[in-house]
Symmetry: C2
Subunit: 195 residues, 2 copies
């Protein structure tokens, strides 16, 4: 039971995730979220003006969780190649863990992502910018060949799509997945270094 | 009206595609296909023992259409880099054309592909083998750096997935699609040539 006045947006988002997990994206309502928290639905609406706004914020929070760890890696010490490999393999590992550990919640988030494509686009833009920072640093250190920063960063993101785009989640448990990731990584790294 | 004795498997497959287009994959039946041809359903069953077998053959035919043109490109004259670029851009163009020219039929084939994943796996294997032949030739001509042939070919296929995997069809009409394809191609080519 949460007292009405102390209720935070974060508490609502955690409860909303739990409700979505339990009832699925088609059935979950704001009233369910309020009941989960032991508050009135108007208390929830004070933070999120509509069911759509709440679902958007839940999607945002889910996607943001990936950013912090990756941001730290992109600003790490070490060569740009090392950071890039670490960044891409961490992204793959995080997505794979989410998909395999809790497939139902993952499927729920796919529905939410479909509904909130602008949030997903902003998420991808944030990730591509992190890649761009690593790439730019690699060019400055003469590890990588100079090229258009943002379009090269996007190309790295696109070329590794089979290892982070949720549409490929079903392939992530295949025994060859890691080997295939390594082969693409080798190709990408060679492409960035190529004179 | 087709006389029963002259009925070929190819005629049935063409009629089945037309019926699938008209009724959708959920409703189309073997009786509809027989009616379309003006034959009895037993005439259809003589060629395809079940509805599932017919749908599998329709899927196979749809996927095979891509192979012939690509096979010819893989065996073309010209450098391996030229052939590889031609092969990848032809695959992208063909998939994009199918997806954009007739979105309903494309959606129908996505359902059929989902049902017949073994056929799809064999299709991908055929394509990766064509890529492997171009890559091997490039290594022999010293255009490309020696590397494991099949896993490198698979890496090229995986890295270009955003430009041939049907799950990305919605992005193929975006104005940046060609630019993004070129950036990935540049990265891949650099990776294959990298010393």
């Amino acid at each position: 039971m949460t007292t009405d006045t102390a209720l935070t947006a974060e508490q609502i988002l955690i409860a909303a995730e739990e409700v979505l997990r339990r009832f699925g994206p088609a059935k979950a309502t704001v009233v369910d979220v309020a009941r989960e928290l032991g508050v009135s639905h108007s208390s929830v609406y004070r933070h999120f003006p509509s069911k759509a706004a709440l679902r958007e914020a839940v999607t945002q929070r889910w996607l943001d969780q990936a950013h912090f760890e990756l941001k730290a890696i992109s600003e790490d010490s070490g060569t740009a190649s090392e950071r890039l490999q670490h960044w891409l393999s961490t992204l793959f590992a995080a997505k794979r863990k989410k998909a395999l550990d809790d497939p139902e919640l993952f499927a729920t988030y796919l529905v939410l992502a479909e509904e909130n494509s602008a949030v997903v686009d902003a998420h991808i833009e944030t990730l591509v910018k992190q890649l761009a920072e690593i790439f730019q640093d690699g060019v400055e250190r003469k590890e990588f060949k100079p090229a258009h920063i943002l379009s090269t960063a996007r190309a790295v993101f696109d070329a590794t799509a089979p290892f982070h785009d949720p549409v490929f989640a079903a392939t992530w448990s295949e025994p060859t997945a890691d080997e295939r990731f390594k082969a693409v990584w080798k190709l990408v790294l060679g492409g960035l270094k190529a004179k």
